[in-house]
């Protein structure tokens, strides 16, 4: 019997490992958000500070409801599935590492609790002219740019300005916000049309840079 001991022991270890694994059907217990976040770290950074060199925005301190909504969109192909959305196409498969709604909630909660990272301005524009355009944006995003969950508008103040410019361009070009199931993106898209050109976008972003989070 003793000669079978290594086999029995290794089988028991394998079985125990299998029991703790996450099944695609989400049958097993949800991992803590902190642990799930490790998959996000290579791009968004351990503190959620982002990495402009690979177009990964800062996400630390984003409201949980917004992170959750975007993860659901990426995961189901409502966002990040347009052939021209290079960064979105990278994010979409990463979101698929979260198997259940509970996991999405857990990681969103973790992100929301990370201390907000102050983003250094990289875009110059006419903030005064941008403040005029901001009049349209503030209806949803708030006068102070802190967002409004009641209308699904995320905070913009403190967000990476290069990311805001990229997203405005995507909305305007129809790369984001054109999926029929993207109701909130569909709301944002016509708003982006009110900005005549790239300079107008930079102006309003220069104004957003003056708002504190």
């Amino acid at each position: 019997m003793r000669q079978y001991l290594p086999f029995v022991l290794s089988s028991a270890v394998l079985a125990a490992t299998g029991c703790n694994s996450i099944h695609p059907d989400g049958a097993a217990a949800t991992l803590p958000g902190e642990e799930l976040y490790r998959s996000c770290e290579p791009c968004h950074g351990g503190a959620g500070e982002g990495n402009p060199s690979i177009a990964a925005p800062a996400i630390a301190g984003h409201p949980a409801w917004y992170v959750e909504a975007q993860l659901v969109k990426f995961r189901s192909g409502i966002r990040g599935a347009h052939p021209d959305d290079y960064e979105g196409l990278r994010m979409r498969p990463m979101s698929r590492q979260l198997y259940t709604q509970a996991e999405i909630k857990a990681v969103a909660e973790h992100v929301s609790k990370l201390p907000v990272q102050k983003a250094a301005p990289t875009i110059t524009g006419d903030a005064a002219a941008g403040a005029v355009s901001w009049g349209t944006c503030q209806a949803c995003h708030g006068v102070d740019g802190k967002g409004n969950p009641a209308v699904n508008a995320p905070p913009l103040a403190g967000q990476n300005d290069w990311y805001l410019l990229t997203q405005l361009k995507k909305f305007k070009a129809g790369i984001r916000g054109t999926n029929p199931d993207d109701t909130t993106g569909g709301t944002m898209r016509p708003m982006s049309m009110t900005l005549a050109d790239e300079q107008a976008m930079k102006n309003v972003i220069a104004h957003i840079n003056t708002l504190s989070r």
Binding site: H82, L89, Y99
Partner: protein, 237 residues
């Protein structure tokens, strides 16, 4: 034989399978025989009481045969394998049959974008159909493909076609295939391309002419069609 486990979906899949089987048979037979002889000699000439070890210089022709005969046989069978491989190489890589249609495959971290010709059968026109993670082709048609990468090295692999071709940034790499069966099968990236490498599966949908043409008609000119989420990497429980 291999197609019992993985369907042969292209005109050249059977030839590639035959080559793999030839290599398996040659290497397998001689590999096993070599091991049998090796262990046989070990046991036969194991240390024995009262028998003094011999120093073998390898000058006796009878002893040299143990090396020279396998050596010549290796050369002969190598030539067999090379001839078989060159025939398949010429068929798959050197001869490009006339294309009925051309599709463009663009890889990136970590997704595939496929550009299909619309009803006009030509690429780079307004009716082109771009899809993400889903390639649509018609059975029995010869396709040329153009591979491009937006970022790093990838590899376009369609197991049922026995097709695997690296994609190198900055280059357009061309090839061809002709599907012979219908159905939906896997496309995979077979070159480690970053943290999401394992999360970029795609599908190839091979349809009968009528069904494929209906799909082309329905999607012509549509800017983006994303593959629905499915399978173990998708469906939200």
């Amino acid at each position: 034989m291999i197609s019992k486990y993985l369907e042969a979906g292209s005109t050249y899949a059977g030839d590639i399978d035959s080559l793999i089987l030839l290599i398996l048979a040659v290497v397998g037979f001689w590999g096993l025989l070599a091991e049998v002889v090796f262990f046989g000699l070990i046991f036969k000439f194991a240390e024995k009481e009262g028998v003094k070890a011999l120093y073998v210089t390898g000058e006796d022709p009878k002893e040299k045969r143990w090396v020279s005969i396998p050596h010549y046989l290796t050369l002969i069978f190598d030539v067999m394998i090379i001839i078989g491989a060159l025939r398949v190489w010429a068929e798959v890589k050197l001869d490009m049959p006339q294309a009925d249609e051309t599709v463009r495959v663009t890889a990136q971290q970590w997704a595939w974008t496929f550009t299909h010709p619309g009803p006009d059968g030509k690429l780079d026109t307004e009716d082109d159909i771009r899809t993400v993670d889903e390639l649509h082709v018609e059975v029995g048609k010869t396709y040329h493909f153009e591979l491009a990468s937006r970022d790093v090295l990838h590899s376009f692999s369609v197991p049922i076609f026995r097709l695997k071709q690296d994609i190198v940034p900055g280059r357009i790499i061309k090839g061809w295939f002709k599907p012979v069966i219908t159905g939906t099968y896997d496309i995979q990236c077979t070159e480690i391309c970053g943290i999401g490498h394992g999360l970029m599966p795609a599908k190839i949908v091979i349809s009968e002419a009528g069904k494929h043409q209906a799909w082309v008609k329905a999607n012509a000119g549509v800017a983006a069609v994303a593959a629905p989420v499915s399978g173990s990497t998708g469906g939200m429980p």
